[in-house]
């Protein structure tokens, strides 16, 4: 500001001017300035807050997904040395019940002590009904979580014990009481008539029968006990049947009966498993459990569900094995995957009772936490003071161990989502009972020992398949239409066409989906030859119409100005379509034995679903066309006119100008249009949900459906439990969708911005 200006501004120098500095005006100015500041702050804070709120979506999704990839951790809860433990011997069995309140300790002499898990106080003590002079020489558990044990005795007998708790509410107080039952009677069953001490025992209780197996030296003993209840008296009688199996030469290390009572696994020698078929009473085969001759098997147990056999060895390795059926219906024990805990021999493998995870204990006192399906090693940590026995609680959130000095250690195990790993999401996984590794999405099932199959691969494949077929229709149509509209079309027609395309863009996808699923799908199924001839005949019809138009007398041709070709073509396309659809039955009779759908499935051997990729391609293609169109049209339209005129002035035809100048210049814009269309096709939910069968398949077949990531979220999210692994995996698929579209859109936007700068410089 110059002096002159400030002098002029000074109101006091000239009394004729208005005085702007009266107290009232000054106050008003202050208020105005204050308001100005206030607005600045308000808009600044508010605006940033809104922008932050909408970016929150990224962080929130990531926040929900993150726990999936965290490992496990152990936290110390309590240490105690209960007095009662001193009088008992070494623990044969240690276990914790559902509520983490009561533990069970069993010693060789058949003393079962239930104690409070929190502080070790004795709650109740039972003496098992062992025959006089006999002690427990072996113990075996039925399926993980059954709490059913078989005790092998030193006199060749075996006793089946069921541990459990009884919850009652006397005086409105919850009271948990331990109970011990003997489901097959208090008196032990005789396994070895010669009365030798049983070294290893196994048990499997079915609905009607109980299978007991035991070994003495290298001899396998199997007893089948069937229960029959008398209809009149209600008494139950037990029938015992001894099953004779071919004998083995090597000393036996473990016998395990499969819960479905079909297989008996006998681990013997250094590292050999003999599998017996209990139905045919034959040896199915001998399997080497390790290639390394120095490795010895040190522990073996079943995983939840009783299908997988976990074999721990002397070098700290744990192998997962299960029976696999081949094409000829022959079973064989197969090595599925291998885990490595350390170098010390594995002494105990305990399966989780809700999931397909397990914990392992080795001789060095290290605890390992693993998950079989996800092939994940979640934690390897030394336990305090080593351990001679270990119990994993049913909910897999407590680990109770007893060390060599008889001290108990209770630790909390945090291991919320072991089922998910990179390999379980994106690689082929060999699931239990499958004959080979596969990509499968099957998140829930009715039974509790179900192995969740959460591979995102089939969903991603389905997403890309749907997007691919949609783009196959949309890309050529939209780009051709955009080029014509921007470059050839008469402005008057352009004003009429653009609102139609905008309407196309605004159509709710639920309407397209419903139309495709309820109208198009059955229609296409009945008019397949017509639809395919439509695809071929329409371009031919258009070309023919164009050619005929060029041969028409000039006065007709000139009556329609240039740039109105599309209008002429509307009746042509309609007529072609009507013709193509009307010859559909004739074609069907002539070439496809009267029914093309049957012909496809019988003669070509291709599965045909009514709601298939073709339908999705048509419906989603329709949805994507306007997105691609509007951006591509914008790119072509804003090519500087000087370029076009220059080319035309040099004698190029309009078509040459288009292909050699305009499209080349606008190609980045067209490319970004395709990317945005792709992004839209990938994230579209309702159309896919309604026009496919939503089966998660990995088939490129045009006539089969698919399930996409987005549709999967829509289908499964409402039933998913808050905070569960399934819930988080669905969030993960939403995050994958979000990132994919965001990256696509950002790239497209950057390309367009660069193009705009380029146009401006031309």
């Amino acid at each position: 500001m110059t002096d002159l200006a400030s002098a002029n501004m000074n109101a006091n120098t000239s009394p004729a001017r208005i005085d702007f500095n009266t107290p009232a005006l000054q106050r008003k100015r202050r208020i105005r300035a204050f308001k100005d500041h206030l607005t600045r702050w308000y808009v600044g804070v508010g605006g940033l807050a809104v922008l932050a709120a909408i970016t929150l979506i990224f962080f929130y999704l990531a926040y929900v997904v993150l726990p999936l990839f965290q490992g496990a951790s152990l936290t110390k809860k309590a240490d105690y040395t209960p007095s009662w433990a001193a009088e008992l011997g070494k623990p044969l069995l240690l276990s914790v019940e559902e509520q983490n309140e009561i533990g069970l300790f069993l010693d060789k002499q058949g003393q079962a002590v239930f104690f409070s898990v929190a502080d070790g106080a004795e709650r109740q003590r039972f003496q098992l009904p062992l025959p006089t002079g006999a002690s427990i020489s072996a113990i075996g558990e039925d399926q993980p979580g059954s709490q059913r044990f078989v005790l092998g005795l030193s006199n060749g007998q075996a006793l089946v014990v069921q541990a459990g708790t009884k919850v009652s509410y006397p005086n409105d107080q919850k009271l948990v009481e331990p109970v011990l039952n003997y489901p097959y009677g208090n008196s032990p069953l005789t396994l070895d008539p010669q009365g030798r001490a049983l070294e290893h025992v196994g048990v499997a209780a079915g609905d009607e029968s109980l299978l007991l197996s035991a070994s003495v030296g290298s001899e396998v003993l199997v007893l089948n006990v069937t229960e029959e209840s008398n209809m009149f008296t209600g008494e139950t009688t037990l029938t015992e049947e001894r099953i004779a199996l071919p004998q083995i030469a090597d000393p036996i290390k473990a016998v395990i009966v499969e819960p479905r009572q079909q297989w008996l696994y006998v681990i013997n020698g250094r590292a050999t498993a003999d599998v017996f078929n209990l139905r045919s009473k034959q040896l199915l085969g001998r399997y080497k459990l390790s290639e390394d001759g120095n490795v010895e098997v040190t522990s073996a147990s079943l995983l939840l569900g009783g299908i997988s056999l976990m074999v721990g060895d002397s070098k700290g390795g744990i192998g997962q094995w299960f029976m696999v059926r081949d094409k000829d219906d022959n079973f064989a024990l197969k090595h599925i995957r291998q885990f490595q805990q350390g170098d010390a021999p594995i002494v105990q493998v305990s399966a989780e009772q809700r999931r397909k995870g397990f914990v392992a204990l080795d001789q060095a006192g290290q605890l390992g936490v693993f998950h079989s399906t996800a092939e994940r090693t979640l934690l390897i940590e030394p336990l305090q003071g080593g351990a001679q026995a270990l119990a994993l609680s049913p909910r897999a959130n407590r680990v109770l161990s007893v060390d060599d000095k008889g001290e108990f250690h209770l630790q909390r195990l945090d291991n919320k989502h072991p089922e998910i790993s990179w390999s379980s999401l994106w690689s082929k996984v060999w699931y239990e009972t499958y004959d080979k590794p596969e990509y499968i999405w099957q998140s829930t099932a009715a039974n509790t020992d179900f192995e969740p199959k959460m591979s995102l691969a089939p969903l991603t494949f389905g997403t890309l398949k749907a997007a691919f077929y949609a783009m196959l229709l949309a890309a050529p149509l939209a780009i051709a239409a955009a080029i014509y509209t921007a470059y050839f079309m008469a402005p008057a027609m352009r004003r009429k066409v653009k609102p139609v395309i905008e309407l196309m863009e605004a159509l709710p996808t639920v309407i397209l989906g419903f139309f495709a699923g309820l109208f198009l799908a059955p229609y296409v199924e009945n008019h397949l030859p017509g639809i395919f001839s439509l695809l071929i005949l329409t371009p031919l019809g258009i070309l023919l119409a164009g050619f005929i138009w060029s041969r028409l007398p000039e006065n007709i041709r000139l009556s329609v100005p240039a740039g109105w070709e599309a209008a002429i073509l509307i009746p042509v396309v309609l007529a072609t379509a009507a013709f193509a659809l009307s010859i559909s039955p004739t074609l069907e009779v002539a070439f496809f034995n009267g029914d093309m759908r049957l012909w496809i499935s019988n003669d070509l051997g291709i599965t045909y679903d009514q709601r298939n990729a073709l339908i999705v391609g048509l419906a989603m293609g329709f949805a994507v066309i306007p997105n691609i169109f509007s951006i591509a049209e914008d790119a072509v339209f804003s090519v500087p006119k000087s370029l076009t005129y220059g080319s035309l002035a040099l004698g190029a035809t309009p078509w040459q100008t288009l292909t050699r100048v305009v499209i080349l210049t606008a190609s980045p814009g067209i490319f970004s249009a395709l990317m945005i269309g792709m992004g839209r096709a990938v994230g579209e939910t309702m159309i896919v949900l309604m026009s496919t069968g939503n089966t998660p398949l990995m088939e490129a077949n045009l006539f089969e459906g698919m399930r996409t990531l987005a549709a999967n979220v829509a289908v499964e999210m409402p039933e998913s439990e808050l905070g569960s692994t399934h819930y988080r995996v669905l969030f993960l698929s939403a995050l994958v969708l979000l990132s994919f579209t965001f990256v696509m859109n950002t790239l497209a936007e950057l390309i367009r911005q660069r193009l705009r700068v380029k146009y401006a410089s031309l």
Binding site: R32, T39, G44, G46, I501, V510, F514, E684, V713, A714
Partner: protein, 556 residues
């Protein structure tokens, strides 16, 4: 150029022009064709078409009589029919007609619709005495009226019966209205009051203030409500008895007779006896019923009023939420933020958020709003309702908020565009006259940008009204028992689940047990939704165009 060979025509590049022109033609045909199919199918449903009586003779089977409306006919190959297991004779023509008839009488025959071979139908007639009944359950009935009864005694028979039936249906309709009022109005209010008392008591108990005095007060209030209910119940029983008094006997085409209480009928009409004028009147009455009535029979019959209401309610709340926030963010970005790399990044991000799949917003809404925010609200303010969630479950509020988040980028982008279009000169003029920046914003910039905001808002509303995928997760259900607005305190129930037009289409079309019967209704619903959205879009386009004209004038 007049006489050219195909080769030279090909070389001239003309084919390319025609092909690209064809693409435009195809896109236009697809859009208009889709709308036309939806319109025809949707609107055709309400027309009372003639009921055909015919003989149907399948080779090798006894002749049957058929009574129903022809819904669809198509030509199919003989092989296809034979493949469907029909006894097609070898000398049958290569192509045969297949007709879809709506025969109703689901309670007697098991299915509403039946496919028949058209060539085997003969003696088509449209007798005038055929009665079509729209029932509250079991779908339509086609047959003839036998008699009308009052409390089991025949009061009218033969030709007189029809007039008597109409009169008595009218009476029953009146009773139905009274019953509805009683149920929804007064008894609903009592139930609501009882529930509120229960919550009050629980609340006091939780706060440790449940004194004997309070207990007595609550008990007194409860007793009063119960007494009122007793009174209403007596009235209800009386009304119900009246309601069930009259019945009528009808005879189906296979000779079976059915006795129906008139309370189970919605309409009874004789389409074959109606003239074009009657039919038109009936058509509009049905159309109105569709728009204003509640759905019946698992949403496959009746109206869609709750869905319209729910959609409007949700969109309204969304619009109230989205406008101020969207405008605030746009004003900040365009007027206050320092233009640079950061604003460019934000702008791109906002632009892209508009392209993020809607289902992602649904997932976010469910996790963040419903479980996290809603769960916290429940713990803080509604501990008395636990374990039943109040806001910690999908509902109207969360549906609206989720849609607001989804639509806010649309408003931001549109408003920003509007702000950018305002010529610098206007702004500088205002500042030069001594106005502060805030005053310029309020008095000059925002009013000028208001049409742009309107456009953004309309587009946002259009997008929100048509979106379904996120709503499936955050608060829309197939059947909401009550509207989110009623006469009970607090009048607007933001925690309630709602029905929605788009979801209605998905649900009825794909989850309904009787898709064939529901299909026309779905088409009609789709038509309504398309019309609303098309209207909104055209409004937005019109406003935008006017806006452009206005600024052209300013710039010159």
């Amino acid at each position: 150029m007049s006489k050219q060979s195909f080769k030279s025509w090909y070389k001239s590049g003309e084919p390319g022009i025609w092909m690209s022109g064809g693409a435009v033609a195809i896109a236009v045909i697809m859009t208009i064709g889709l709308m036309a199919v939806i319109a025809v199918r949707g609107l055709g449903h309400f027309w009372p078409s003639d009921v055909i009586e015919a003989r149907y003779s399948v080779p090798g089977q006894p002749v049957q009589m058929l009574l129903g409306e022809l819904v669809q006919e198509e030509e199919v190959t003989r092989e296809r029919l034979a493949g469907a297991g029909l006894p097609i004779p070898a000398d049958a023509p290569e192509f045969m007609r297949r007709d879809l008839f709506k025969v109703g009488n689901r309670d007697l025959t098991g299915a509403d619709f039946t496919w028949l071979v058209g060539d085997w139908l003969s003696e088509h007639k449209t007798p005038e005495d055929i009665v079509v009944l729209e029932r509250r359950e079991w779908g339509n009935f086609y047959g003839r009226l036998v008699n009308v009864q009052e409390a089991g005694k025949v009061v009218a028979e033969g030709d007189a019966a029809w007039a008597e039936l109409q009169k008595r249906i009218e009476r029953v309709d009146g009773l139905q209205a009274k019953l509805n009022k009683l149920h929804k109005g007064e008894i609903g209010a009592i139930n609501h009051g009882l529930e509120r008392l229960r919550l009050q008591e629980r609340r006091l108990e939780l706060d440790g203030q449940l004194s004997d005095q309070a207990k007595a007060d609550l008990a007194a209030e409860r007793a009063e409500l119960n007494a009122r209910y007793q009174g209403l119940e007596a009235e209800l029983v009386a009304l119900n008895a009246e309601f069930d008094r009259d019945s009528a006997t009808f005879k189906a085409i296979d000779g079976r007779e059915v006795n129906l209480t008139l309370g189970k009928l919605v309409h009874a009409y004789k389409p074959n006896a109606m003239g074009p004028l009657d039919k038109t009147g009936f058509y509009f009455a049905k159309l109105w019923e569709f728009l204003s009535d509640e759905p019946r029979e698992a949403n496959t019959e009746g109206g869609i009023f709750p869905a319209i209401f729910g959609t409007v309610m949700m969109t309204l709340i969304m619009a109230i939420l989205v406008t101020p926030f969207g405008v605030l963010a746009a004003v900040y970005l365009r007027e206050y933020a320092k233009q640079g790399a950061m604003t460019r990044i934000i702008r791109i991000a906002v632009n892209n958020l508009a392209g993020v799949p809607a289902i992602v917003y649904g997932v976010f809404g469910l996790g963040f709003f419903v479980y996290m925010v809603g769960g916290s609200i429940d713990r803080l303010f509604f501990p008395e309702a636990a374990p039943a969630p109040t806001f910690g479950t999908p509902g109207l509020l969360w549906a609206s908020v989720t849609l607001a988040i989804l639509a806010v980028p649309v408003v931001i982008v549109a408003t920003e565009e509007g702000l950018a279009r305002i010529p610098r000169a206007v702004r500088e003029g205002s500042l030069a006259l001594g106005a502060t920046k805030a005053e310029t914003l309020w008095k000059v910039v925002l009013p000028m940008a208001s049409p742009a905001m309107m456009t953004g808002l309309i587009l946002a509303v259009a997008r929100a009204a048509g979106e379904v995928a996120p709503l499936m997760l955050v608060g829309v259900v197939k059947l909401a028992p009550t509207l989110p607005v009623d006469g009970n305190y607090p009048f607007v129930h933001l925690d309630q689940k709602i029905m929605h037009l788009g979801f209605h289409i998905y649900d009825v079309g794909f989850q309904s047990p009787n898709v064939e019967a529901a299909r026309p209704l779905v088409f009609a619903t789709a038509l309504l939704l398309v019309l609303v959205i098309a209207l909104l879009n055209f409004a937005a386009v019109a406003i935008r165009n006017r806006l452009r004209e206005k600024y052209k004038a300013l710039e010159n």
